[in-house]
Symmetry: C2
Subunit: 352 residues, 2 copies
DNA sequence: GTTAGCAGTCACACATTGCGAGTGCTAACA
DNA sequence: TGTTAGCACTCGCAATGTGTGACTGCTAAC
């Protein structure tokens, strides 16, 4: 028994119907509405075969059928290469980005909002991963006795800062000196490769006394918190999921909500998704059993061609994959170019 | 018919019982468990009076009674002056703050988490309000051609920064000059009082050309976004509310969740609460009808005696007000001292 | 291979019933 | 006069039973 053209059409019709109605589809519905010109009895025969192939499932004997994870997978595989938004759809999304966003955080938040409202599912957008990004400049700014601001600029123009404690008596001039040395020494290095020891060595070279060790370590921990604190994820539209019949059970809703309290869960999802331009995990395909009844669809965004972060959607397995994939791909690209714009204001200008 | 001692005791017993069980309390329950040595018939007579006074409500004729908003108000008024955590309770809370937190955001997040887990309700903590706080220093740091970092330090040591666009060709030295001028000019001013025009005037004084107007305005908008973006609120433990019988209705749960999407709602609550050291809004007392079935309890935190922010709890009207108020008061105070510590690292040192 | 027709299945919505928690009233008692 | 026991009555709720309708699965005819 093979999966001929007609079976595919019927499966497709069932998926389409189930995606919108969320209730098992009967043979009669397909016969009447799919426009295949076949009677319900014929559809039934085909559906029987589809069941044997593991593509359809029945909640109980006398109920209609619903697509299995396997069926969605088949469907997703067939469309994933060709998802694309239409021009009007693109325009409709871009309206929300009409004001120029100059702040990275703004871009992320806005994208999360738009993604959730465009798909009607829960959206998540992670901040760029900076550990693998090379340093361009390190600058310490004197704030007051005992406190300084540590600024880190990456080669691709991203900027991050944090306050650190400094020893008493450290002067602004001294901070400038250290900043300059650190910049020369660490320019081009990756943030994660700058260890406390390396910074300590640098202080020794400067001819500093042992007491400065605490200074070195507070710089190191500042640099570390700079990219650790960077691992944030913006989650939006959780309430959208609650309106779905899938979550009409209060217990499931509560589970979902407490998952949202732990943003690390989403961080893991998004981190795992970084390796693929577009990724779809359907139901049981998810590593985390929390999502075994949901689908997680993700895309990446890039800087200079390198993926630096990802964004995604969590929804029921009966999801409009075509639309969600297209929106994600588009928003991923648009994030990439917005971030590029934020970072490269100067790079572009260097050319003239 | 007045509210004598015994009626108060009975009301108290009903409140206590209802707070834990969430289901209407019958006269028999009180008679057996409250230890008043009265028969259920007597209790019934008293309950009849309490009903006439508007302190008890019945969901239907043959059901037990539950306290009205008015009853909770009476109760809260009677305890609000004297709420205090016991020493062991304090210690148990302080365990969560044992590691020194040097970052304001960390303090806020941690407090939100602890507040929610200590009360078992949804917690919210706002970031400090900076518009009324006076400036100490303004510093522009050159990042790259076209971009600079704007740092604002308030007189009480709080620090905030944001990136701004700068015109081409602006040098680091020029930024230093402007920083110095702005600091001299605006030190002691309040952030909200620094208008674009004032900054523009300063540029004119510097003898700058008209083209620099865009620079002035980007500094102004940077300063503005600095305190606008500051108005954040950390919300935790929304899932806790979903476990309550009050929210067993999925529709109510959804409403709650979509309220959480709009953090402005909570911002309004917390802003309104700034004027009172401790504030309790019971059910209908809330201005926002969204909370007409909930209670909102808030406290403030301070810097140098001035309230700069607030934190609170949203839960059902049947709330353990004594505990919640005590926890809030304590955490408000502990936030105050932690923030004081963060800001005053230098002030303290100035003394020696 | 396709279709009509029909028996059989099963969830779901709806009405019915009985139970139990709780009131409200009355009459008796201290 | 306040307190209590006793009892009829109310009403929500959970358990149970029933009818309906949306299906399938099969068979026989086209």
């Amino acid at each position: 028994m093979s999966l001929d053209e007609r079976k595919m059409q019927i499966l497709q019709a069932i998926i389409d119907d189930y995606i919108t109605t969320a209730s098992p589809v009967g043979s009669r519905t397909i016969s009447k509405h799919a426009g295949l010109g076949l009677s319900s009895a014929t559809i039934r025969n085909e559906m029987y075969d589809l069941k044997e192939l593991g593509l359809l499932e029945q909640p109980h004997t006398s109920a209609g059928s619903m697509p299995s994870d396997k069926a969605y997978r088949l469907y997703v595989n067939s469309i994933i290469q060709s998802v694309e938004l239409s021009e009007p759809e693109r325009e409709q999304l871009m309206v929300h980005f009409s004001d120029r966003l100059s702040d990275l955080e703004e871009v992320i938040k806005r994208t999360a909002v738009v993604l959730s409202s465009a798909t009607n599912y829960m959206s998540m957008v992670m901040t760029p991963q900076l550990n693998d990004i090379s340093l361009n400049r390190i600058q310490l700014i004197y704030i007051s006795s005992g406190k300084a601001l540590l600024i880190i600029v990456s080669t691709n123009g991203l900027l991050k800062n944090t306050t650190i404690d400094i020893p008493d008596g450290v002067t602004p001039e001294y901070l400038d000196k250290i900043s300059a040395m650190m910049t020369t020494r660490f320019a081009g290095c990756k943030l994660k490769d700058v260890s406390e020891n390396l910074i300590y060595d640098l202080f020794i070279e400067l001819g500093e006394r042992r007491e400065q060790l605490s200074f070195a370590s507070s710089i190191a921990s500042g640099m570390h918190s700079t990219y650790a604190g960077q691992n944030k994820v913006e989650v939006r539209g959780a309430d959208k999921l609650l309106s779905l019949p899938e979550f009409s059970d209060i217990e499931k809703a509560r589970e979902l909500m407490s998952a949202i309290e732990h943003k690390e869960t989403f961080m893991t999802l998004l981190n795992d998704a970084m390796s693929m331009e577009l990724s779809v995990k359907i139901g049981g395909e998810n590593a985390d059993p929390k999502f075994k009844n949901s689908s997680v669809v993700t895309a990446t965004y890039k800087l200079h061609g390198e993926p630096i972060g990802s964004l995604g959607v969590v929804g029921p397995t009966r999801m409009d994959y075509a639309k969600v994939l297209a929106v994600l791909k588009f928003l991923g690209d648009s994030m990439s170019s917005m971030i590029e714009e934020i970072c490269d204001d100067d790079n572009g200008k260097k050319d003239d």
